[in-house]
């Protein structure tokens, strides 16, 4: 099997399964999704050695090739994102199968979730669109995949028709659409200047003209809005907190990375000649502000899901530090650190949301006060949450630690003491709210009455959390893969 065929498979399998799932009944659709997930996991894992061997691969869909047709571009970064999508996807699918299934004992009080049948085709479309996003080489095609991801995500947020979720979904919709419009305007300007929307060709032809600079600004702002960078993060906490738990895991773990992936592609591959130190500094400062603000807000929350959602706002801030740290000799270091961090975060945040979901199911609410003493009843899920927290805090040997360590090293080498301090501060703040949540559950005075939770829903988050924690040990292959097609050291032009 070639790398190109694996990539095509990763797009076609979920789409085809979505079509079939639409027609099937819910149980069969769930089984089909699990099977499709398994196939995708196999495809993405076999992609890795192929890419390591061949380097970055270009594939002309419909045979025409850029600039006339659409090319797929599969490099190390794509492969890493595909792998994390597959693994988190499979895990979430298994969890969702239990989440949406009605309990076998109706007397135990587990009511079926209405509209569960719509989950499977929507989730498969989301999954396929994410895969398509990570391998596309054409900016307009990326716009369409991004829209597919957003719309499927919106439909999933509003799936259970709860008021808070609907309002949150609408807020997200308007924010995301404004972001898409800005991005599309950028494409218009770029096509008008260079007669192509293929990002590799653009990277070769881009010059520092007025229209190009405007396009860069518009696209980065639009995508930053979609990635919920402070201060454009207002839509994220309600949307991720009020969605059903498996959906929250996917949104925070994967969807956010999609638009961020696009910013990386634009910044390092299309606009390296155009971006300035000032722009990089601005993004990094906003990232630092996001870390502090997100963590402080997370501390204030009484609802666990909101706390985890604000934690996402903070962790997104870490991702944006790369735009100032990946310059000169620290490029590789910052690049590796950021992607490693994103990779670990997908696992950790997924585990966090899934375990919070299981615990909320047990108690009937996600408010911290109702969780006192829960550890005595649901030790597995609490342990999973704690373990996920370990990676979020950045403690060794977790993947989060590796990511933060690399970023810290890059910051120190670059002389950015402020950023280094913020990175450490973020870790401290995260540990405060994680500890507070976990210690509350150990309170033995108030042991709550719990409802039965399906076994899968307890153990799956633990598996994911273990992945996040043990990632630190297995980063060798990850870093090797990331070097394939990694951007050359960026030298930012000093406007002065």
């Amino acid at each position: 099997m070639t790398a190109e065929h694996a990539a095509i498979g990763l797009i076609v399998v979920p789409m085809a399964s979505a079509i079939v799932a639409l027609i099937l009944r819910e149980r069969q659709a769930a089984a089909l999704t699990v099977a499709a997930g398994g196939v995708q996991a196999w495809l993405s894992s076999s992609l890795a050695p192929l890419i390591l061997e061949q380097g970055a691969v270009r594939y002309a869909v419909a045979g025409w090739g850029a600039p006339l047709g659409i090319d797929l571009h599969i490099d190390g970064l794509s492969t890493v994102m595909l792998i994390v999508t597959s693994v988190v996807g499979v895990v979430v699918t298994l969890y969702a199968a239990a989440y949406f299934a009605p309990g076998s004992d109706p007397a135990a009080g587990r009511k079926p979730v209405a509209q569960a049948g719509a989950f499977w085709p929507l989730w498969l479309f989301l999954w396929g669109a994410l895969n398509a996003l990570f391998v596309s080489g054409d900016l307009f095609n990326l716009y369409v995949t991004l829209e597919l991801v957003t719309l499927a995500g919106l439909a999933l947020i509003g799936l259970r028709r709860q008021t808070a979720a609907l309002a949150a979904a609408l807020r997200y919709l308007f924010a995301a659409m404004v972001g898409s419009m800005l991005y599309l305007l950028g494409i218009v300007l770029l096509y008008g200047s260079y007669a192509t929307v293929d990002w590799e060709l653009l990277g070769q032809s881009v010059r520092g003209e007025a229209a190009t600079i405007c396009a860069a600004a518009l696209m980065v702002v639009g995508l930053a809005l979609k990635t919920a960078l402070f201060p454009l993060h207002f839509w994220l906490p309600p949307a991720h907190a009020n969605a059903p738990s498996p959906v929250s895991a996917v949104l925070s773990g994967l969807v956010i990375k999609g638009s961020f992936f696009l910013i990386l592609r634009l910044w390092f591959y299309v606009f390296p000649q155009v971006v300035t130190i000032g722009a990089g500094n601005l993004l990094a400062m906003l990232g630092a502000a996001a870390i502090v603000w997100g963590s402080l807000q997370a501390l204030r929350q009484r609802r666990l899901k909101l706390m985890v959602a604000y934690s996402t706002v903070a962790q997104v801030g870490y991702l944006f530090l790369v735009f100032v740290l990946a310059a000169g000799e620290t490029t590789t270091l910052a690049w590796r650190g950021t992607i490693c961090f994103a990779f670990a975060h997908a696992f950790a945040k997924g585990a966090a949301f899934l375990s919070v979901g299981a615990l909320s199911e047990a108690v009937g609410s996600d408010e911290l006060d109702r969780w006192r003493g829960l550890a005595h009843r649901e030790p597995v899920a609490v342990f999973a949450f704690g373990l996920a927290g370990v990676s979020l805090m950045g403690l060794p040997p977790s993947g989060g630690f590796i990511g933060k360590w690399l970023l810290l090293e890059a910051a120190l080498q670059h002389g950015q003491w402020g950023l280094a301090l913020v990175i450490l501060l973020g870790g401290v703040l995260t540990s405060i709210y994680v500890f507070r949540a976990v210690t509350a559950t150990f309170d033995s005075d108030a042991v709550p009455h719990v409802r039965p939770v399906p076994e899968i829903m307890r153990w799956i988050p633990l598996a994911l959390a273990f992945c996040a924690t043990l990632l630190g040990v297995a980063t060798g292959w990850l870093l090797q893969l990331l070097d394939v097609g990694a951007p050359l050291p960026v030298v930012l032009d000093d406007p002065s």
Binding site: Y99, K111, P112, V113, A114, F140, V144, E147, L151, L154, A155, G158, R160, R161, Q162, T163, A164, L166, A167, A168, A169, L170, R171, L173, F174, M177, V178, M181, L184, L185, V188, Y191, G192, F234, P237, P238, N242, P244, S245, Q301, R302, R303, L306, G357, S360, E361, G364, S365, D366, E367
Partner: protein, 137 residues
């Protein structure tokens, strides 16, 4: 020297501004959706206005295909937005998003937790009659 294409492109830019203002400033959700459509149409207008700059006069068709795709995507987004709005109205009787960002977990009712200060009694009764799962998972 302003060409015809430039005129339409600038018109598109102005429409983009109007539409963006509408999305941010209008309170009624349906009006926001109209503004969203206005915005996307303006971007398409700019794209096509730029496509007639060919020296021999016949247009460049690639932007046409992109805009056609864009029109369909924008329709899908509109339809999805209207579905969400309809459902929100059925649940709360409101056509606007609340001012207060919905983080206030002390409000006990579902509508209250979403930030709506007016609890529509009818819709609450209807919802519990639907028998949907109301726990927070």
């Amino acid at each position: 020297m302003l060409t015809h294409g430039d005129l339409f492109a600038l018109c598109g830019a102005v429409l983009f501004g109007i539409g963006l203002f509408g999305i941010l400033a209008c309170r009624h959700l349906v009006r926001k959706v109209i503004a969203l459509n206005l915005t996307s149409t303006s971007v398409f207008l700019i794209m096509i206005a730029l496509s007639i700059r060919t020296p021999d006069g016949s247009p460049d068709f690639v932007p046409h295909a992109m805009v056609l795709t864009g029109i369909v995507v924008s329709l899908s987004a509109t339809a999805l937005a209207l579905s969400l709005i309809r459902r929100l109205h059925r649940e709360t009787g409101q056509w606007e998003l609340p001012d207060v960002l919905p983080f206030d977990s002390t409000r006990r009712t579902p509508a209250g937790a979403a930030g709506y200060s007016v609890v529509d009694e009818e819709s609450r009764v209807q919802r519990s009659a639907d028998g949907e799962a109301t726990d927070d998972r």
